[in-house]
């Protein structure tokens, strides 16, 4: 790279794309305690997600015996639930939960 040709100067354009600013949104208020709450467990169907959440469920109930749990299993791996035919059922399940724990299994 020491020959004269390598010293030719190049003014180069950026390959990195512009992006539109994304409107930012805050997350939802937390619950004061998990005692007596309906806790949803969302598995994305990766192999470890179910077993991880099963352990979470067990340990949660040990700490909070009055916790109620309900499960939702993704219809397809890696596809957002709101983009599936199960969107309405998913949203209803979310609305019926006081808080949700998700595991991606990775």
């Amino acid at each position: 790279m020491n020959n004269s040709q390598s010293n030719e100067q190049y003014e180069v354009l950026s390959p990195w794309a512009d992006v539109d600013p994304v409107p930012l949104k805050g997350i939802s208020p937390r619950v004061a305690s998990l005692a007596g709450k309906k806790i949803g467990l969302l598995s994305n169907r990766k192999p470890a997600a179910g077993p991880i959440l099963a352990v979470v469920e067990k340990k949660l109930k040990e700490r909070y015996p009055t916790v109620e749990t309900s499960w939702y299993e993704a219809l397809k791996i890696s596809v957002p639930q709101v983009e599936t035919e199960g969107k309405a059922a998913f949203e209803k399940w979310v609305e019926n939960s006081d808080a949700i724990i998700t595991a991606v299994g990775d």
Partner: protein, 455 residues
């Protein structure tokens, strides 16, 4: 993480458990959806673990954090995240010699590790002669970063890859393919499965661009095969923002992500071309996309139809998901033998689907479904699983998920590509739109080809 964002939007608090090494990926995903504050709990359970003791230990260690993530009140930043100013770089990003430009681009994470051609205004302007679309035309936004895929940005990345202006119609069609929601690009490009976009090109453009369909078509040495895939990968990385180990979590990685492009040898095929099978006219030029993570070169059991088809059915691997698709590359000589013995594509697909079986105990999901330690979710065992471990299970249930195309040189091999499935469709093919100056452009660049000296 997209589900966590959906849940928070429905005003239900959530926490997501992710493996420690996926924390960055999770944060990029939630930020890209406008919700950077989504709470995650990094945990130490090895990815996709099937060892209950590991899972128990990892979850136990994370329980306090899980509970805290659902109960500790929000910070001000979590309630109302601050807007981060988007970088507005000047049009000219850098000035330097060849080595300096390459170092600058590499250090920014804008290359594939190989040297690039400096994208000067002059060279990019020449690249733009490959399309009638204006430079500021936006084909769409590429995820995960939602970068604007303008014609100019596509051209800049094409220059860097060393592509010729005649590749622009293909690259634009390629961007259209990955932007098609049915492609599930957002999943497969960053998946742990290391899926690489594989492009099969049909129609007259194969000859206009000298795309190799013969011996060594997937090997280095041909400017079209080499640069079309490379340009697409740079587009995906620099416009879409999928970077290895940060958003692209491919476990092993894939050399196909440098480039993976082949043309179908329509002239030597006894069957209708792939793009015609997918609804286009023979005179159209088209690109078919698949997300491929393996190429198997299968040494054929013989050269007669029975041996060729036996090779296919006995070598579909059992460590595959039912959601994967399979493509078989049939070399021209084998295609002619099969056709001569009455085998069309439809019959071959049906035969493979019916006969590619393994005993159930060898199948990917056998231990998963029968393991006592993995019964966390009730009803996970599919109803169609065999009862006895020795019973056969079909590896490709739907013959329509099989793709067959003709390429490759003389020899005794069959190619098998396994790839991730799309949404709603089995195959995705996009037609190329050629610019008005196409003939003169082809005339200008078509003669560029290597001449190998005899020795």
């Amino acid at each position: 993480m997209y589900d966590a964002v959906s849940i928070e939007k429905l005003t239900t608090p959530t926490v997501t458990l992710v493996n420690n090494d996926f924390a960055m990926d999770a944060m990029s995903a939630s930020s890209s959806q406008g919700m950077p504050g989504v709470r995650i709990v990094p945990e130490s359970v090895p990815c996709e673990s099937s060892i209950m003791e590991e899972i128990d230990a990892g979850v136990s260690a994370a329980m306090d954090d899980i509970i805290a993530a659902l109960t500790i009140p929000l910070t001000g930043e979590e309630k109302s995240p601050r807007v981060v100013e988007v970088e507005k770089p000047s049009k000219i990003i850098f000035k330097g010699n060849l080595e300096e430009v390459n170092r600058f681009f590499y250090q920014r994470g804008w290359t594939d590790g190989l040297p690039v051609i400096p994208p000067t205004e002059e060279v990019v302007a020449e690249m733009l002669t490959g399309t009638d679309l204006p430079p500021d035309h936006m084909v769409g936004k590429i995820i995960p970063r939602s970068g604007k895929a303008t014609i100019e940005k596509i051209a800049i990345n094409a220059v860097m890859a060393g592509a010729l202006p005649t590749t622009m119609p293909l690259l634009i069609a390629g961007v259209e393919a990955i932007l098609d929601p049915r492609s599930a690009f957002g999943t497969w490009q960053v998946s742990t499965g290391s899926w690489a976009p594989f492009w099969i090109i049909n129609g007259p453009v194969r000859h206009d661009l000298n795309i190799n369909s013969g011996s060594g078509a997937l090997s280095p040495g041909n400017i079209a095969n080499a640069t079309i895939g490379r340009a697409m990968q740079l587009i995906i990385k620099n416009i879409g923002g999928a970077r290895p180990g940060i958003e692209d979590m491919g476990v092993i990685g894939n050399p196909g992500k440098y480039t993976m492009v082949i043309a179908e040898n329509e002239e030597e095929s006894p069957w209708e071309p792939l793009h015609v099978e997918h609804g286009f006219k023979k005179e159209d030029s088209a690109a078919t996309l698949m997300f491929c993570n393996s190429i198997n070169h299968m040494f054929s059991y013989g050269t007669d139809a029975k041996a060729i088809l036996s090779t296919a059915i006995y070598n579909v691997k059992p460590a595959r998901s039912t959601e994967w698709l399979s493509s078989f590359l049939i070399i021209p000589s084998f295609a002619k033998i099969l056709a001569k013995e009455g085998w069309g594509k439809k019959e071959i697909k049906a035969f493979i689907s019916e006969n590619a079986t393994v005993p159930y105990y060898r199948y990917l999901h056998y231990l998963r479904y029968t393991s006592v330690s993995r019964d966390g979710v009730p009803g996970k065992v599919p109803k169609n699983m065999p009862i006895n471990p020795e019973d056969p299970i079909r590896l490709i249930e739907d013959p329509d998920t099989i793709m067959i195309f003709v390429a490759g040189g003389p020899g005794n091999f069959i190619g098998m590509f396994e790839w991730a499935g799309f949404k709603e469709v089995n195959f995705l093919t996009k037609k190329l739109n050629l610019p008005a100056n196409w003939e003169s452009l082809v005339e200008k660049y078509k003669g560029l080809k290597p001449t190998y000296a005899r020795y």
